[in-house]
Symmetry: C2
Subunit: 208 residues, 2 copies
């Protein structure tokens, strides 16, 4: 859906008050762009004599990167899908005790879904980051700067998605559940920061 919009139209609607796309959709998009740079580097490496020893691995990376990119871009749609029930839940009546109880239950479920969508995106971004880390080692040195750009875009998207976890867990009544989801997000942020640091330092060392 969103991936069929032009860049102009997508950023136009992103800039408006419309509830979706928002930060979650922006994170999915830029993560997909980051992964596309990984595919580009793999394509520029594939078939080159200098990297012949890694040809098979490069082909495997390329195949994975193509799949992950489609999933990251689809994250834009999943974020929107998770948001709708949440905004509906807020609109439920809360006059009688029964209505309040029913609303609480629907809201709890919607908040969990709205937290799980960015958590799933984060897990997918980590897969992308692992490919970038490997490409910083075995990818064509002529395209090493593109590995660095992709790695940074993935890290920004990871952090962006984590914010969408926190805003939703923040509103949960079940604090134990909220804390366990926050911990998941925090752990992925740490992993992502470490992976990106390794990748980026390797890139800078090569081009500076």
């Amino acid at each position: 859906m969103f991936e069929q919009m032009t860049i102009k139209d997508f950023t136009d609607i992103l800039s408006t008050k419309e509830p979706v796309p928002g930060g979650g959709g922006a994170s999915g998009l830029c993560a997909g762009v980051g992964m596309a740079l990984g595919s580009m580097v793999a394509n520029l490496t594939s078939g080159k004599k200098k990297y012949a020893a890694y040809q098979k691995e490069i082909e495997e990376i390329l195949e994975k990167a193509e799949k992950i990119r489609a999933e990251l871009l689809d994250g834009m749609n999943r974020d929107a899908e998770a948001f709708e029930p949440l905004s509906k839940a807020y609109g439920l009546p809360k006059e009688t005790p029964e209505q309040i109880a029913a609303r609480e239950e629907v809201l709890a479920g919607a908040l969990l879904d709205a937290s799980n969508a960015p958590l799933a995106l984060m897990a997918k971004i980590l897969e992308a980051m692992a490919l970038m880390e490997r490409l910083s080692e075995i990818g064509s040195k002529l395209a090493i700067s593109d590995v660095g750009v992709g790695a940074q875009l993935l890290l920004a998207s990871l952090k962006g998605a984590s914010l969408n976890v926190y805003i939703n867990t923040n509103l949960m009544k079940d604090r134990a559940l909220a804390e366990s989801l926050n911990k998941k997000a925090n752990r992925m942020i740490m992993q992502g920061e470490m992976l990106t640091q390794v990748t980026y330092e390797r890139v800078l060392k090569t081009i500076q």
Copy 2:
């Protein structure tokens, strides 16, 4: 030009061996997406009683953000424009001493242009970051996470653009010129990191 492509088509071509778009175009795109999130927050703040004291400033930010977003997205095109002469320069003949001298001169000019394009993008990204920093103070708290996402995407784009400075200055014969351009990029990275840290910490404090 690139902004009229669908997200699907843009990431498809980005992932191929085609020389453009590359890391520079990806940085321009994601910076534009980051700035669009700034406009979104300004739009969600505008007209709200709670933020009436800042209404005029919010309108000014919105006007600037719209302009900056268009310029950031246009950075995708400018990056491509700067790349073409560079790849042509590399193709110039270098058989005779005259040809070598002529090629050196054209190449030096093309490398300077290819460094100035990402430097101009970086300067524009810093303008966007300053708006995000202010929005983290006076923007609607309901949309504060989107300020955080936008700020991270802008920082990633700033770092991404800097890599395109370094790869080009790296190839310059005039080392004094190369060093002065690198210093410009380094200074902007430092400014951007400081600005983003202020913005992001404010966002995390609000939502965590």
